[in-house]
Structures are given as structure tokens and as C-alpha cells.
Symmetry: C2
Subunit: 317 residues, 2 copies
């Protein structure tokens, strides 16, 4: 099968179809999409080498498996189920975990992927493939609400109207609180407002304006420092950004203001699928382009454009 390999550079290569291990099933990839983490990996983040990609929707093709023929999405953390972390509701932090396309497990920018059956979720028929591919990043947005009790009466600022910032804003919109999504790039705030989101230019954010919760989805170090400046004392800064170039905030301000800094990563798929199925979140306007898998290198160039949101790869073309 053809696969997109990262080995210091991105290469389309012919590699063997993976052999499912015990408990795994083989999935034919229908759609995949490019995440900022993929863009960070090709800058050196995680030191990953191999088949890239972790956002996908596919069809199970393993014969004799109950899931055969089903359209599925897959959680990206492959866990042991036995360690302290697995046994304390922290499977995504399993000490022995492999992470699809990020750490030690083949990714989804390929014809097929083999994954533990327990990682798969059946996609309801009402969710089109290019929408289902948003399950993974939407789950990462919902993870914030899984981790943090955000009170409906308190203001929330979301920094960054990129791929993840838009999904977080779409989920935040469903709550009662005042939320505002900030971005420096005027086209992005105009676009966010066109989707009914409460988006503003960062230039409109006054020095004294603060929120109970700030969520950093900027993907850069400066965004994190800015978010801390607009947090009420005892407020919480949610960090969603992992970057190859790491940011380092001033710890004294964290102590003096008794801030909470909360790191947030992958989420569980079920609540994200619920939001998509109920049509409470419609990510389809975030699709900025669709490329055939054979054009995936062009797709990556397109994904690097900061004005683009999600770039989808159609593996069936």
C-alpha cells in the first residue's frame, strides 16, 4: 500500500499492509485529515519516524470480526489496560501506550491501518465521512469540559480561531457562559463570526479585560503569555498547544495569582460523536480543501496556510 512516511522529510512510499496483532482489526482508510500536531511532527516534535496521521474514518475489513463492514473512527492511544494509569481511568496516559501516527504506532496516511478493536467507534449513518473525520479533534475540544468544571455564569476567552480553537468555540457556544474567541488575523475572526461564533480581533481586547477561564489554542508561545495576562486571579488557563518550540511562562505570576494551568490533550470519542450525531456541532464549514491521497504532499502545503482550517484527504479518489 502507499503510505506517507516522515523520515526527516515527507515521502510517499510503498509499504506492506499491516498484519493485525491479537485484538486488532484491519481498517481501510476512507478519509483522513491533517492536524497541527502533524505539522509540528514534521518540524521535529516527538521525534516521530514512520507513517504519519491520526485523524481518520475507515471501514473494518477483517473477515469474521463483528465490526466487519462497519464505518468507524478510532481513538489514537493504544493502551495496555493493565498499568496503574489504565486502571485509574487514565487509559490515554497508559505508561505502555503507543499513539497512532505520533508515537510508535503506524499512522493513517496510508491505505490501511491495524488498530485494537477496542479503540474503534461505529460512526452513525447520519454523519458523513468528511464530518466523521472531525471526531478526534472534536474529542480533544470536549476533553476540556471533561477535565474542568466551567461555570455557566463565568466569562471564557478562547485564544486562536484555528482548527482546534474553532471546535472549542463551537462546543463552548453550547454552554450558558459568555465566551469570546480571539485571533490576530482579521480573516479568521470574520470567518468565525460568519459561523455565528462570538469572535473578536485581539486588538479589541483591552489590557484590563479578564476571564475566569482562558483556553489557549494559538499553537504558539506568545499566545500562552497573552492568555495569562487576561486571566482573573484563581482562574484557569487551559493549555491545548504542544509546540516544537516550547514556551515558558513566569511561575511567580502563577503563584501570586493562584492561577491553575491545566494541560489538556486527547479526549474520548463518544461525547464527540454524540455532538456530531445530534448536529449540535457542525464542523463541515471548517473544511478548507479536499485532496486525493495521491496528492497528500500538496495537501500538506495547503494545511500550512494559516488561513486554512481542516484539509481532508479522500483515500477513495
Amino acid at each position: 500500500m502507499q503510505a506517507l512516511i516522515f523520515e526527516n522529510e515527507l515521502l510517499l512510499k510503498d509499504v506492506p499492509v499491516p498484519e493485525p496483532a491479537a485484538g486488532e482489526v484491519l481498517v481501510k482508510i476512507l478519509y483522513s485529515s491533517i492536524c497541527n500536531t502533524d505539522l509540528e511532527i514534521i518540524k521535529g516534535y516527538m521525534g516521530f519516524r514512520g507513517v504519519l496521521g491520526h485523524e481518520f474514518v475507515g471501514r473494518v475489513i477483517t473477515e469474521s470480526h463483528p465490526l466487519r463492514g462497519k464505518t468507524v473512527v478510532g481513538e489514537i492511544n493504544c493502551s495496555c489496560g493493565k498499568c496503574y494509569l489504565c486502571l485509574s481511568s487514565r487509559r490515554t496516559h497508559c505508561t505502555n501506550r503507543l499513539v497512532t501516527g505520533i508515537d510508535g504506532h503506524q499512522g493513517v496516511f496510508a491505505g490501511f491501518i491495524s488498530l485494537p478493536a477496542e479503540n474503534l467507534h461505529i460512526v452513525p449513518d447520519s454523519i458523513p465521512g468528511p464530518v466523521a473525520v472531525f471526531t478526534e479533534p472534536l474529542a480533544a475540544a470536549v476533553e476540556i469540559f471533561e477535565q474542568l468544571h466551567m461555570k455557566p455564569s463565568k466569562p471564557v476567552f478562547i485564544f486562536g480561531a484555528g482548527k482546534l480553537g474553532m471546535l472549542v468555540s463551537m462546543v463552548a457556544r453550547l454552554q450558558g457562559f459568555d465566551y469570546t474567541t480571539f485571533d490576530l488575523i482579521p480573516e479568521k475572526t470574520v470567518f468565525a463570526r460568519s459561523l455565528g461564533l462570538n469572535a473578536k480581533s485581539l486588538k479589541e481586547l483591552l489590557p484590563g479585560e479578564k476571564a475566569e477561564v482562558c483556553i489557549d489554542c494559538t499553537g504558539n508561545a506568545e499566545g500562552i503569555k497573552l492568555a495569562l495576562k487576561h486571566l482573573w486571579p484563581r482562574g484557569t488557563l487551559v493549555l491545548k498547544t504542544t509546540v516544537a518550540d516550547t514556551a515558558k511562562p513566569d511561575l511567580n505570576s502563577i503563584v501570586i495569582n493562584e492561577f491553575t494551568i491545566l494541560g489538556s490533550r486527547c479526549g474520548l470519542f463518544k461525547p464527540a460523536l454524540n455532538l456530531l450525531e445530534r448536529n449540535l456541532v457542525d464542523p463541515s464549514p471548517l473544511i478548507s480543501g479536499e485532496f486525493a491521497f495521491t496528492d497528500i504532499l500538496k495537501a500538506f502545503e495547503s494545511a500550512k496556510n494559516p488561513l486554512n482550517h481542516k484539509i481532508i484527504i479522500n483515500h477513495q479518489l
Copy 2:
């Protein structure tokens, strides 16, 4: 009155007795003590200039005030009572606050101090003066338990067996969880164990040993990095350290491990006074020396010795 002033250097000077403003009462200082924050201030932290000191026990001398003649301790944050933060149970973060001996308000290394009557707490007769002077730092230790729900079944690591680390350990001991207090200096862990605390040398801490909550009381940047290495994913690092030389942890590890970093500062006095009155915490073994106020410069030299814990100033000698 004589007062210890910090103006680039420490000086004992003659200054006028303060005039109580509306709502304030005049307090004669009986005992005061030296905190690490005082030592950081004289290295440049907070850019403070004026009468230093914030830990004290005193006697109200304002005539015709209901507190007259009472022995009191005083909360250090002087708040407006009207701002958003005061009105949302965050008086210690009041946007208009002045902080005794730290930010804009005269400190306690003097003959007298004028403080808002609402900041004062009557000291029960059963608590001796040199013990009551621990109310402020003990309240800072109790603040951790006010902010964070620490589950009795989970392990807790406390880094640093200095003044604050010992008080935090004494409070932690009262809970059901396994706690361990670590320090690099053998004399400090031996001393902590002699008080019945579960203290170990940092050298005994294995690379894979981790806890649900790590509390940094080391007062230095390296301690914070070390504490993060010994935290379970989704665990909480409580930061107690404010240092002139600020530490900067790696944010990627916070996101990947979904750590919570919780800044923690001043606490409320009532629960600390309760612990002292009930004799559940006895800080008296932490008194490493007592100096007359006229010898306060010698007291500061003694406080700089890392093997010393609390240095008490007796203003009545």
C-alpha cells in the same frame, strides 16, 4: 519607633508611629518572624521599599476599640471589599490590595503597625506568642487544602523540608494519604523524622516513583522541574515557591501529561488558628532562634542559614 527598612539594603531607622486610617487599629508588635519572602524581597523580589515583615503577633492599643488589649494576629492582604475579586470570595487577590511588608503597606519589623480591624484575629489564650507567630505561614500551608481536593487514598510528595515544607508536611500528616517529604540536605530530613514526619533524602527517590500530588516548597527552580518528573499523568503540582530568579517548566510535558499546575499563596487564618489551638500542629520545634528586635540584622543573617527554620524576633526584649 524603630523599624527595619529595606532600601537596597536593610537599615534600622527611626520612623514615626503610623496613624490609623478609618477602619484601622494600632497594634503593638510582640513577636514577629522572618519568612523566605522577606529573604527574596531583599534580593529584589516585588521591588518592595519600606518597612519589611508580615508575620507577627501583637496587642491592640487603640483606645475605645472593642479589640483593645486583645492579642491578635493579622491577615496580610488589605483589601477594598468592593471589587469583583473581593465580591467573589477572592479578597486576598483584591485588585486594590496592599500587602503588609510586601506591597505598599508598612511591615511588622517595627514597634507598631496600623492594620484594618477586619484583618485581625484574636489569638486564643492557650497559644503562646512565639507559636501564634506561625499563624500566617501555617495559613499558607492550609491554603493548599482549601484550593485542592486531595484524596486520602492517593500518594503525595512534598519537596523541600524548609520552613514552609515542614508546615505543609505537618498538615499533610493529619490526612489519611501516604505523604513523603523530600530534601537534599541530610540534616533536614533527619530533623523532620525526629518530629515524626515521613521524610526521606531526595537520593532515595527513584526515577519511576510518582505521586498524584507534588507540592513544591523548595524555593528554587530546579525543585519545580524535579517535582514535575515525579507526578502521575493528570496529577497536580502545587507551586508554593516565589523566587526572584523565576523558573520556567516545559509546557509540552504539561499538555501531554495533562498535568495541573496550581499556584498557591496566602491562606485564611481561622483554620490555621484552629489547628494551633487544637494542638494538631505544633510548630514550636521549628523555632531555630529568637533575637531581640534591636538584633534583627543578626536575625536576618541567621535566617539565611539553610539549616535554620524559623527565626523569631522578640519585640519585648
